[in-house]
Each structure stands twice: as C-alpha cells, then as structure tokens.
C-alpha cells in the first residue's frame, strides 16, 4: 500500500511535469488546471502513503532515510502546489515536480521502514523540528528551481533567442519574486526548525553531530542568500546563482556527511 501510493504519487508528479511541458512539444497552451490537478492528486497519493506508513509504523514519517526523503518530497510538492495556485503559473512544475518525484522514488528504493525513534520522537517539538526543517529545505529547493529558470530565461533574453523558453517561461520579474519569497520562507522554516532542534537537544540531552553539521551548513547558505537579498539588495541574477549554489551545496554536504558519519537506514 505504502509503496503503491508512492508509485502513484510519482506518476502524478511526472504527469504534471509532462503536462506543463506540453507547449514545448505541441502548439497548445499549458493546461493550468490539468497540471494543478495532477500535482494535487500526487500530493494526495503521497499523503495517503505517508499516513499508511505512520499507522503501520506507529511513528511520524520523519526519521529514517526513506520516510524522511519521502516527507521532503511531499513538502516540496505542497510548496510547489501552493506557489502555483497563487501565481496561476505552472512552468515551475517543469523543474520542481521531477525533483519531488525523484525524492519519492529514492525514498521507495531506500525502503519505507520504521526506525528506532530517538527519545521524545513522538513529541510535538521533535515533529515540528523535522517538519519545519524540511519546509525550509523545500523553500530552498523552490528558490533554486526558480533561480535555474531565471538564469535560463535571462540567457535567452540576452542572447535574443525567441524560442519556446522565451515564450513559455515566466517573465524574469516573476521568477525573481518566486526566488525571493521562497528563500525567505525557507530561511524562516529552517531557522525555526533548527531552534526547535536545539530545544529538543537540550531537553532530551540528545545530540547528533552529522545532523548539526548539515543543519548549520544548510542554514548558513540560506541565511547568506536571505541577508544578501534583504539587506544588501542582491540583484536577481546573483540571488539565482547563489540559490542554485546553496541548494547544490546542501545536497553535497548531506551526501558527504552521510558518507562519513551516518548509520545505515538513517537519514543522517
């Protein structure tokens, strides 16, 4: 049931991306409602899968490699759905939905099996700490996706190529705004998540060095971009490059920390 729900969610995420890409292949408009419906169905299937996991395992799908990656995937998909519902603009799906699908697939492959929870693992502080941290990372991923699209569209406009990307990608100002809002939302989520993690560590006398290293690394990157944008007035291109660099750094750092210090089956 859990694996099937993840498979269905992946199919819907990829379907949404395919629908959003339709105007590149054929002379049609992007079916906004279709893309949003496919994304919503993907989120629903994903949520059903995670709920089934929570029921069978008796724990929130936040600890363990598979469950945590799956939760990251749904956080990203929900963020994407929210952004697109507000903007009525679905081209961000092209980049972000495959990423959510990838997370769901890797989660499935890694195995959606329960882990031994740390002390207080069922408590609201711990759950909120993980959930907010993932929401923060989803914000960073969304900012990176918008940043990638910004850089591609900018290159098209500067090199005066008036092809499909020029026509179908959103205006630079829109992509910049999405990047700006997503990075601020990401910073808020990650900051709250880390503060709750700190409170949890102090309360339960728990500390996990790989998690601390990774969390502080990710937070530093997001904070630098958020500060750059808000107080230093970073231009859109620099923010787009920085978002991509920060996102890539977070992934590389996670892989490195996992390689060096993580135990099998654990997220970190």
């Amino acid at each position: 049931m859990i694996a099937i729900a993840h498979f269905i969610a992946t199919t819907f995420y990829l379907g949404a991306a395919a629908l959003a890409a339709a105007p590149f292949a054929r002379p049609v408009r992007a079916p906004v409602r279709g893309v949003l419906a496919a994304l919503a169905l993907g989120v629903l299937a994903h949520a059903i899968g995670l709920t089934a996991f929570a029921r069978s395992a008796g724990q929130a799908p936040l600890t363990g490699l598979g469950p945590a990656l799956s939760f990251a995937g749904i956080a990203l998909a929900v963020t994407l759905l929210f952004v697109e519902l507000v903007a009525r603009e679905v081209s961000l799906t092209l980049v972000t939905a495959p990423l959510a699908a990838l997370l769901a697939v890797v989660a499935n492959l890694a195995g959606l099996v329960p882990q031994v929870e740390p002390p207080g693992g069922q408590g609201p502080w711990f759950v909120a700490h993980i959930a907010l941290s993932f929401v923060g990372l989803a914000g960073l991923a969304t900012a990176a996706a918008a940043g990638t699209m910004y850089l591609v569209q900018r290159r098209e406009l500067r090199s005066r190529r008036f092809g499909s990307i020029f026509r179908l990608f959103p205006p630079l100002a829109t992509l910049d705004r999405v990047n700006h809002v997503a990075i601020l939302a990401g910073w808020i989520g990650l900051t709250l998540g880390i503060l709750l993690g700190l409170a949890y560590s102090l309360t339960f006398h728990q500390s996990n060095m790989p998690q601390v290293v990774w969390a502080l690394g990710a937070w530093s990157g997001v904070t630098a971009i958020a500060l750059g944008r808000v107080s230093r007035g970073w231009e859109a291109r620099r923010a787009a490059v920085a978002s991509n660099a920060a996102f890539a750094a977070v992934i590389i750092l996670w892989l490195a920390v996992r390689f060096v210090a993580s135990q099998p089956g654990k997220f970190l």
């Binding site: 005066r160 026509r167 205006p171």
Partner: protein, 440 residues
C-alpha cells in the same frame, strides 16, 4: 440559394482597386439599398475594411451574383470579374467565420477584424434578417472560440506589440513601470501608445525639438524634455524606447554606465526601433541591460506568426464544427413552414368541431363551454407536440428532409415555394433540398 458572398480582398485585388470599394458608414444605407435592388436578395450585409469589401446576401436567386458583380464593377469603374470571388451556402458561412477569426487577415489571427465584423453587422442590421443575423452572431461566437481555444491570436504581430512583449518578458506586468521615449516621430508615438495601454505609469518624451516632444507628451500624459537633459532620468527608468531620426547613435555606453551605477541592479530594457540605430551595440554587453533593435523585434513577430500558423488546423476544426451547427439551424428552418401549416390546419379543424359540438349542446354553461375549448386545445397540442419536435429535429440533422416532404404529403400542405411566398419568409429549402436528396 440560401447564402452568397461576393467580395474583393487583399488576396484578389491591389490597394488601388480595394480603396475604390471601401464603403464608409455614411454611405452604407444607400449601398445596402442599391445592393438589395441589384441582387434581389431579401437580406444583405456589407463588410468593408481596409483589406476587404464583401457583400453577404441571403434569400437571393442565381441572378444575385451578376447583380453584385455589376455593383462592384460600377464602383471600381471596370469589370469585377478579375478581382471578385463568390462563395455559396456552406462555403459562404465558412468564409465569414474565417474572416471574423482573423484567418483571412493580412496578419494571421489579428483580433481587430472581430470588432469590424461586429460593426458591419450592427450598421447593416436594417437590411439583415433571420439568416444573416444568425450567421453574423455565429461568426462572432466562432471568432471568440478560436481565440480562446487556440493560440492563434497569441504573441505580438507588430513591431510595437513585439516591443511590449519583450518588455513584459522582463518585467512581467508593465503596470506602474517608467518609460522614456527618445524621439517624437510616428513610430515613437505608436510605441508610446502601446506602452501606456499596458499601464506604464510615467513616461518621458525626449526630443531634439522640444515643441514636438511637448506635443506628444501632452497627448499621453507624459513629461517632455530636451534630449540633452534626459540622461539624468535614466536611473529611474525601466524601459528606454529609442526612435529618433539621428544618423548616428544617440545613446552611448557612457550615458548608460553612469545611470546604471545609480539604479542598483534593476534591469533596463532598451528598445531601439530607429534606423539607423540609436544605441551603440556595445551597450548590449552591460550587465542588466536588455537591448533589442528592429531586427530582434521583427524576429519576435516572425516567430509569433509562425507559431500562429501551427494553430491553423485547430482553428479550421472549430470553424468546421460551427459551420455544421449553423447549417443544421438553417436546415431546421425547412420544418418551420410545415409545422406552422400543420398547426394552422389542426386549429381550423378544432374550431370547426368544437363549434359543431357546442351547437348540439346549447344549454351548456359558459364554464362548461370553456372547459370543452380547453380540452380540445390541450388534445390538439398534445397530439401535435411530438410530431412538431421530431419534424424540426429531422430537418435539422440534414438527413430527414424526406420526413418534411412526407409531412407535407400527409397533411396536404403545398410546395415550399408556395409556403414561402405565403409567409413572406426566406425559403432556405429549395437548394438544400436537392443536396440532401442526393445524400439520401
């Protein structure tokens, strides 16, 4: 013959022929009266734009085409044969649907024609009737469908609108943005009109001749200044539109470097529509500057037109569906005289029978008489309801005109011509009748 269109357009005649055929609103009534007289048609509508003049006729005989040709020939002062085209019935309907949708326009998919067709119909309402009213109503509906269901009208199709499209691809909405226009010529005015219609908040018109700048600025609520004073304003501008007649570049890299240093990292869109160009090409290398010249704008237009062509099959599909729908409605009109006649005959019979009955029962109270009247009327309506509905449906689906003929025979109703003459209605049956018979 139900529908006929006789016309001259950019596809068949040069401008010097077309301009002699343009019919202005002031002469429309006279032209329609002349058309009715020359063609003998019951309904007529002129569609006259800068690229076409077409006369739509309904309820006309074969001789109507010759009459329309003569009318056109009279206006252009020579034979109309080499220039005019004729479309009949379904083809005439399809032609108007294509025209209204912009498929027959010089710029494929242009939207202005829809309004022109609406105006032509509104102005000619006095001479149009059931068939043409429905035809034009359908044409406007088809144009809207084509516009919403296909991307035929999407993307800029003129240099000015391409300039706006490029600026919007950078800034999103232009609402509240600031623009500066260098030059005060015709192109500058066109571009300024496009920009202000997109909500550009503050515009500056800079020109060598201050008077001309003031004149243009006053028309669009902009600020006028001499070109030498405008560089200080560049830091606050989002779109710079250059359209001077200067023989050398007016906007130099030094002007922009100073301005860019003060404007932070906001992008600056420069649209150079002058020939020779107003902006030094090196400006393109500056960070956050998006510079486009006439060739770029033409490339945008060409790409958009090419993409519009890709949507032609979808648009033709919509048109084919709507022609079929319109023609079903036209065919449905065949049943109207028959149904009317059947109902009239039944009513006469009912009245006669009720009168006979009432004569035999003279002592009935008024309420009882009224009850008998109502009963007979209700029975008649019940008996005739289903045959009426089926008769209309059979006529409308184009395959059941035999049913209409059968109804004429069964109820003893005369030939369609007779019925038509009696009612004074247009007779859509005659030509289509043969067509449908062939299909059977």
């Amino acid at each position: 013959m139900t529908l006929t269109v006789v016309g001259v357009s950019h596809r068949t005649a040069s401008l010097d022929v077309r301009e002699r055929l343009v019919i202005g609103p002031s002469e429309l009534s006279r032209a329609l009266a002349e058309a009715a007289e020359a063609t003998g048609a019951r309904e007529a509508v002129f569609v006259s734009t800068c690229i076409r003049t077409e006369l739509y006729l309904a309820g006309a005989g074969d001789e109507s085409v010759a009459g329309a040709m003569a009318l056109i020939g009279k206006r252009i002062g020579e034979s109309a044969e080499p220039y005019a085209y004729v479309r009949r019935d379904r083809e005439a309907a399809a032609h108007l649907f294509r025209v209204a949708s912009g498929l027959d326009s010089m710029i494929l998919g242009e939207a202005q024609i829809q309004g022109q067709v609406r105006d032509a119909w509104e102005l000619g309402r006095s001479a149009s009737g059931t068939l043409l009213n429905r035809l034009f109503q359908s044409a406007l509906g088809v144009a809207s469908r084509v516009r919403t269901e296909t991307a035929l009208g999407r993307g800029a199709a003129s240099v000015s609108s391409a300039a706006v499209q490029l600026a919007k691809q950078i800034f999103g909405s232009l609402n509240g943005r600031r623009a500066m226009v260098l030059g005060a010529g015709e192109m500058a005015e066109l571009a300024l009109e496009c920009l202000t219609s997109e909500g550009v908040r503050a515009a500056i018109v800079a020109n060598r001749t201050h008077e001309r700048a003031k004149e243009l600025a006053a028309r669009y609520g902009a600020t006028a200044m001499h070109v030498d004073e405008c560089w200080a304003q560049l830091a606050d501008v989002d779109v710079l539109l250059c359209s001077t007649a200067a023989p050398h570049p007016v906007v130099r890299i030094a002007h922009l470097e100073a301005a860019l240093a003060r404007r932070g990292h906001r992008p600056l869109c420069i649209l150079d529509i002058a020939l020779p160009r107003d902006v030094e090409p090196e400006v393109r290398e500056l960070s956050n500057v998006f510079l486009y010249d006439l060739d770029d704008l033409r490339a945008v237009v060409a790409a958009n037109i090419e993409r519009r062509r890709e949507h032609l099959p979808s648009a033709e599909q919509v048109i084919a569906e709507e022609v079929e729908r319109y023609w079903q409605w036209v065919a449905g009109l065949h049943a109207v005289p028959v149904v009317t006649e059947v109902r009239a005959a039944a009513e006469r019979m009912r009245q006669r029978e009720v009168a006979q009955l009432l004569r035999k029962m003279p002592n009935l109270a008024p309420a009882e008489r009224e009850a008998i009247e109502q009963l007979s009327r209700a029975l008649m309506n019940k008996f005739l309801h289903e045959p009426s509905v089926r008769l209309r449906a059979a006529a409308a689906n184009g395959r059941g005109l035999a049913v209409v003929d059968a109804a004429r025979y069964l109820f003893g109703i005369g030939a369609p011509e007779a019925a038509s003459e009696a009612t004074g209605e247009a007779d859509p049956a005659a030509p289509d009748h043969h067509e449908s018979t062939d299909e059977r």
